[in-house]
């Protein structure tokens, strides 16, 4: 990681670019993408109130356009040095800009998917796209938060918008049930999180993450009865949002019942935003005790294993992808655990023990781990949007009540009827499974490499084994598409916007898988805020 000389500047690392001439981004620059998303969302609600024309297709285009503009601005921010904004309440760094970019990507792609999806069902409404953009603005602001109350409010901005999105088919059984489960469990998790924040505030007297970083080790000694429950409650609330295993039960039902474009947003955007919240918090609290490293490694291990095993048993493709998203959260947790191994060498917990390896120091390991997490989140976002896009395309209008709505049989013979869709789906499945020459393979490669160089050898081996087991259910989808005879039932209609999304994600999956150079350069130039 020669790209990261330790130019210490008030406890953060700056990249080797001309940092002396470029100043850190102002708060206007950092918050502009979120502001564009929020203002467009309000505009969309106004169009819904005042529009006289019947045609509403422009709303999706407007939403996608706003996401594209916001994403472009966020991309420009990725190359700026890191710095605090808004009186240290926010932090602008490469991590927040990249997550904003992923959020914009997810929102733009999902609104294009929704254009075709809802048009064919005569259900186009402006508030759908408004809620989508509000959720994306929440994700972007969540990535900027450096303070626990800000983090809570933005997490809720994102979640409340998504509860409403999941309930968008308000007359459909599945949609309402999915929204209800998501809402009631999400509200429970938020309440746990905010009580944990209150306890941490009581123990340390601050809710600001960088102050918590200095105050917490002392507080764990003087008031353990306050700070430990606080820490555990905060981590529990965040583990729910990323769907780590003991708290994953909502995921399959919510993913299955929500309208498919919303599921795409959940898989791509919400997962990434929840991870950035988790990473930001554990970066500041994780050094204080080795127990947290053990908890994170244990969570990673059971999340990978349970996610993959449950996915194998599914015939319902949408549920299968939901369990697979749990498994992917497990792989990313390896990267999160790798952030702390240098602080706690040689802590034995059986197969998950940390082996002392010679190479890394905290200055090289943390940027590498954060880049690994970012690359994985980006690769997963691109792939999962495409995969749910195919499911949205083959879905039929009357499917809501059907028990076999997304059964594997629906994919039978897709290669002969819609060769383009089948090819794209095959690529997405290869990428999720981690077949070389796709972006998903590189994501896994970097993450497991970081895990091994961080000394988490047992955990990384477990990750490789789990993803090998996962190949079974990804390949099964391809077998059904290419080797089963096609049934004589009708299949979803074509729409240019859906096919555009499929084409863009498929090209990105293969192109970035073969030529990841520029992306890796951009990621390694991103200035990452790392407390030391």
């Amino acid at each position: 990681m020669s790209a990261f000389p330790s130019l210490a500047f008030s406890s953060m690392l700056l990249p080797a670019m001309p940092a002396s001439t470029v100043s850190p981004p102002s708060f206007v620059q950092t918050l502009l993408p979120a502001a564009i998303l929020a203002v467009t969302a309000m505009l969309l609600m106004l169009t819904e109130a005042f529009s006289v024309s019947k045609s509403r297709s422009y709303q999706a285009i407007l939403a996608a356009g706003a996401s594209a503009v916001a994403g472009f601005l966020a991309f420009q921010n990725t190359q700026l040095p890191a710095g605090f904004i808004l009186n240290d309440r926010g932090v602008a760094d490469g991590f927040s800009s990249w997550i904003t970019l992923i959020a914009c990507l997810a929102a733009g792609m999902s609104s294009l998917l929704a254009l075709g999806f809802f048009r064919q069902r005569n259900a186009e409404r402006g508030e759908f796209y408004a809620l989508l953009l509000f959720a994306a603005a929440g994700m972007s602001l969540l990535a900027v938060s450096n303070e626990l109350i800000t983090l809570f409010v933005n997490l809720e901005l994102m979640s409340v918008a998504t509860y409403a999105l999941a309930a968008f088919w308000r007359r459909g059984n599945r949609s309402v049930e999915s929204a209800f489960k998501y809402f009631i469990l999400g509200a429970f998790a938020s309440a746990i999180l905010i009580y944990g924040v209150a306890l941490l505030y009581g123990a340390t007297g601050t809710t600001q993450l960088n102050l918590l970083h200095t105050a917490l080790p002392n507080a764990l000694k003087t008031t353990p009865w306050l700070s430990w429950p606080g820490l555990i409650l905060v981590l529990t609330g965040l583990s729910f949002k990323i769907a780590a295993v003991p708290l994953h039960m909502w995921t399959p039902d919510v993913y299955e019942g929500a309208p498919t474009p919303v599921t795409a947003l959940m898989g791509a955007g919400i997962k990434a935003a929840a991870f950035v919240a988790l990473v930001r918090v554990v970066l500041h609290v994780g050094d204080s005790s080795a127990v947290l490293l053990h908890i994170l490694s244990f969570l990673a291990a059971i999340t990978m294993v349970v996610g993959n095993l449950m996915a194998i048993a599914q015939r319902n493709v949408k549920r299968m992808l939901a369990y697979s998203s749990i498994a992917h959260a497990g792989y990313i947790l390896i990267g999160v655990a790798a952030l702390f191994t240098t602080s706690h060498w040689g802590n034995d917990v059986g197969v998950l023990s940390v082996t002392k390896v010679a190479t890394p120091t905290i200055e090289t390991l943390r940027p590498a781990a954060l880049q690994g997490i970012l690359f994985y989140l980006l690769s997963y976002a691109i792939t999962v949007v495409g995969a749910f896009g195919v499911l949205a395309a083959i879905e039929k209008r009357e499917d809501d009540g059907a028990a076999d709505a997304w059964d594997l049989n629906r994919l039978s013979g897709l290669a002969t009827r819609r060769p383009g869709w089948a090819l794209a789906m095959a690529l997405f499945m290869f990428s999720m499974g981690g077949i070389p020459s796709t972006i998903g393979f590189l994501g896994k490669l970097y993450l497991f490499k970081v895990g091994i160089s961080a000394g988490l050898i047992g955990l990384s081996v477990l990750g490789v084994l789990a993803s090998a087991a996962g190949m079974y259910y990804y390949l099964r989808v391809i077998v059904y598409m290419y080797m089963k005879p096609s049934p004589e039932t009708e299949i979803g209609l074509r729409h240019w916007s859906t096919e555009f999304v499929l084409a863009v994600s498929a090209v990105a999956v293969i192109l970035l898988g073969l030529l990841p150079g520029p992306l890796l350069d951009w990621l390694s130039q991103a200035a990452l805020f790392i407390p030391n």
Partner: protein, 100 residues
């Protein structure tokens, strides 16, 4: 003057009651009320700790939590109404259209 400890104990009790209510009760509205109880327990804890530390962060946090709880209630109650219209029941055990 009421000691801060009493305030914090009450908050901890409310939080535990809310959690128990969430896990044990079957009516969707009561489950939702239990979540609100947990949020208000957090508010009480914030106020108590603000007095201990003598700073204003705790007071400000309470306003944010109240606002978020209101937004959550607006969307949540709408979802519960939609659920009732579909199923004619509010029993959370009956909400299992989707099978594993």
């Amino acid at each position: 003057m009421i000691p801060v400890t009493a305030c914090l104990l009450l908050s901890a009790m409310l939080f535990c009651l809310g959690m128990l209510g969430f896990l044990l009760r079957k009516n969707a509205l009561i489950v939702f009320m239990s979540v609100e109880l947990m949020l208000n327990a957090a508010n009480l804890a914030f106020i108590g700790f603000a007095r201990v530390h003598g700073d204003i962060t705790g007071h400000v946090s309470v306003f944010f939590v109240i606002a978020v709880a209101a937004a959550e209630a607006a969307v949540g109650l709408a979802i519960i109404i939609a659920l009732y219209r579909n199923r004619k029941t509010l029993d959370v055990d009956e909400v299992r259209f989707m099978k594993h």
